[in-house]
């Protein structure tokens, strides 16, 4: 009841004209940043930090928070329309989102993404409102061994996104992880796989892999196949109907819960929750063969998960002062500029500020829906624009986005190289999703392993003696067996059919 009273007070402050405008500006900018590949909320929040000199603390932080969760939604638009993941967390969305666009169903796909983001984002904020201190305590029970177990669990997703060949999927996952190994090692701080080139000390950006393989690879393939546009089918409905909503609501709820629970863990990348949610949805579906070919649930689940994760990430930030991601670390810098220290005391020393921010997150989620639903029709019609116009624009956008990562032409070159790799992968039927998954999960897995063994002085029993870790490892083994059996069954049914 106390939380409800505080929340009502927060709404009163959040509904001021200035704060409403800041929430709108933040969500609009965040959506735009999410749409543009390569640009992320981190750099945008950092660029707007000087505004803290002229705005009140609550107004500035409301805007920056709006950028953060707005960006999670924006990435889905280009994923669905153009097969370009605006954020790495949007990669699972394109697995079914872009096939839907090719079938002339971009509108329902975008609409479901918007509604799923709203439902899960709001669910996340509700849980944040009432359970922040309790949830923060639970999150602290996750240490490096538990992260190791969680990453193993996430890696099993690689099998189910491998398509028809597990070996190819595993090889692509290993390839993705090998690319991510380039750069500074977590244990020694020395560079790996650099071969004397200083430009490789900084590693290879995951976004260049995603943009190159998915966007450029798709465009080269489309040109070869002589495709006129993303879709040549008549664009029918531009909004999801009641049947679509009924079909996808369970996926939204499941994605939201998975995204929120995993998002409580500091350092848990929204891409991880999106992949896991996608995999869970595929496994519980009565028709898993639809996934990868235009299943609306395949859009609803990862989009809900990554928005719930962005809400959940505020739990460790506000309650413990632990930023879950680089973007939130910059946001935390915004707090500190005002002399505010996120953590348990913030609720006591500045309750008005905290509850205003939480209140504005409800409003921001509504704004995201109101902002983006009307644009669904416009985005959907872009799928009919001829490739001869769209493709050069998309290609240039990809390269500009790649450059903006680190202001380096090396990233442009890498994007082009991965574009060629993506084209060849499509040619020879190699799965693309495991590459991105391996490149995201691999470094986290390695760091967790190194830290775990450092904790236990080299004793591997630490993974067995901690119950949460053991449970996760056993769950990973079980999921691996289930995924492998599913692939074997689907191969057998294809053989029987022919």
């Amino acid at each position: 009841m106390e939380a409800l009273a505080n929340l009502l007070g927060g709404f009163k402050s959040a509904l001021s004209i200035t704060n409403l405008f800041m929430a709108f500006a933040g969500t609009l900018l965040g959506t735009l940043v999410g749409v543009l590949p390569g640009l992320g909320p981190t750099s945008t929040i950092a660029m707007l930090m000087p505004l803290t000199a002229v705005l009140s603390p609550s107004s500035a932080i409301i805007m920056m928070a709006g950028i953060y969760y707005g960006a999670q939604y924006g990435g889905s638009t280009t994923s669905i329309i153009a097969n370009i993941p605006g954020e790495v967390a949007s990669v699972p969305t394109l697995l079914d989102g872009h096939p839907l666009a090719q079938q002339g169903k971009a509108g329902p796909a975008l609409g479901i993404a918007a509604i799923g983001s709203f439902v899960a984002g709001t669910l996340g904020v509700v849980l944040l409102t009432f359970f922040t201190p309790f949830l923060a305590d639970q999150a602290l029970r996750f240490g490096p061994p538990e992260y190791f177990g969680l990453m193993l669990l996430a890696l099993t997703v690689m099998v189910s996104v491998s398509g028809s060949s597990i070996i190819k999927g595993l090889l692509m996952g290993a390839f993705g992880y090998l690319i991510a190994l380039t750069g500074i090692g977590p244990e020694s701080g020395l560079p790996r796989f650099h071969y004397g080139f200083p430009v490789l000390y900084g590693g290879i950006e995951i976004v260049t892999i995603a943009i190159g393989i998915f966007a450029l690879g798709e465009l080269f393939t489309s040109f070869e196949q002589g495709r006129e546009a993303v879709t040549t089918q008549k664009i029918g409905r531009v909004f999801p109907n009641a049947q679509d909503l009924k079909q996808t609501f369970p996926a939204m709820a499941r994605g939201g819960i998975i995204g929120f629970v995993l998002g409580l863990l500091p350092g848990c990348n929204p891409a991880v929750t999106a992949y896991i949610s996608y995999d869970v949805e595929k496994k519980v579906s009565r028709h898993p063969e639809r996934f990868g070919h235009g299943a609306l649930e395949g859009v609803a689940a990862p989009e809900s998960a990554n928005n719930a994760t962005s809400s959940a990430a505020f739990v460790p930030l506000l309650a413990l002062g632990i930023p879950a991601s680089p973007a939130l670390a910059v946001l935390m810098g915004g707090f500190m500029i005002y002399g505010l220290q996120p953590g348990p005391l913030l609720f006591k020393t500045n309750p008005d500020l905290v509850w205003t921010i939480i209140g504005s997150m409800y409003i921001g989620n509504v704004m995201l829906l109101v902002l983006n639903l009307p644009l669904v029709g416009l985005w959907a019609r872009l799928t009919a624009v001829p490739y001869r116009i769209m493709a050069p624009i998309i290609m240039m956008l990809c390269l500009v986005g790649a450059y903006s990562l680190r202001n380096s032409t090396f990233d442009i070159v890498m994007t082009i190289c991965f574009g060629v790799v993506g084209y060849l992968m499509r040619k020879y039927d190699w799965p693309a999703a495991p590459v991105v998954l391996g490149s995201i999960l691999g470094p986290i897995l390695e760091k967790a392993l190194v830290n775990s063994l450092a904790m236990s002085a080299g004793n591997p029993m630490i993974f067995i003696t901690r119950p949460i870790c053991l449970t996760l490892i056993l769950a990973a083994c079980a999921l691996l067996i289930v995924s492998a059996q599913y692939i074997r069954k689907s191969k057998r049914s294809v053989t029987e059919e022919y």
Partner: protein, 152 residues
Amino acid sequence: MDKQSIGDRVAGAIFVVMGIISLVESWRLYNIRTRGVVGDDTFPFILGSAMVVLGAVLAFFPTRTRQPVTWPNGRQAARMAAGFLMLVLFSFLLPFVGFPVATFIASLGLFVTLGRFRWYMAILISAALSGIFHAIFVAWLNLPFPKGLFGV
């Protein structure tokens, strides 16, 4: 032997080579490891071993598929190659001529080769595109693109 089998065998061989490279790097890192049970060499070793084994399996037992692998014909291939070269050109030109000019030149090439627009239309669209990109990325978002020879 169909094209898919050859493709899988070649890919398998490439992965074996990548695995060996990873194992060599792992050996280098192992020799400079100072402490701990697990070091920076551990995962390169695991990945390298996995790639060698799985790559060899794929090379000797390629997957079977009924979809033939086809390649673009002469003119199509030439257009695609030209488009690819435009992207490479952009990465080389950007530090020297600056963002707007590099964008204009590369997009002009793309609209002519892949878009098959006539020159005058391609010039108009490319000029508009580079102007819009400059407005969004440089003027509005303040991204630090190189100014190049022309100082723009």
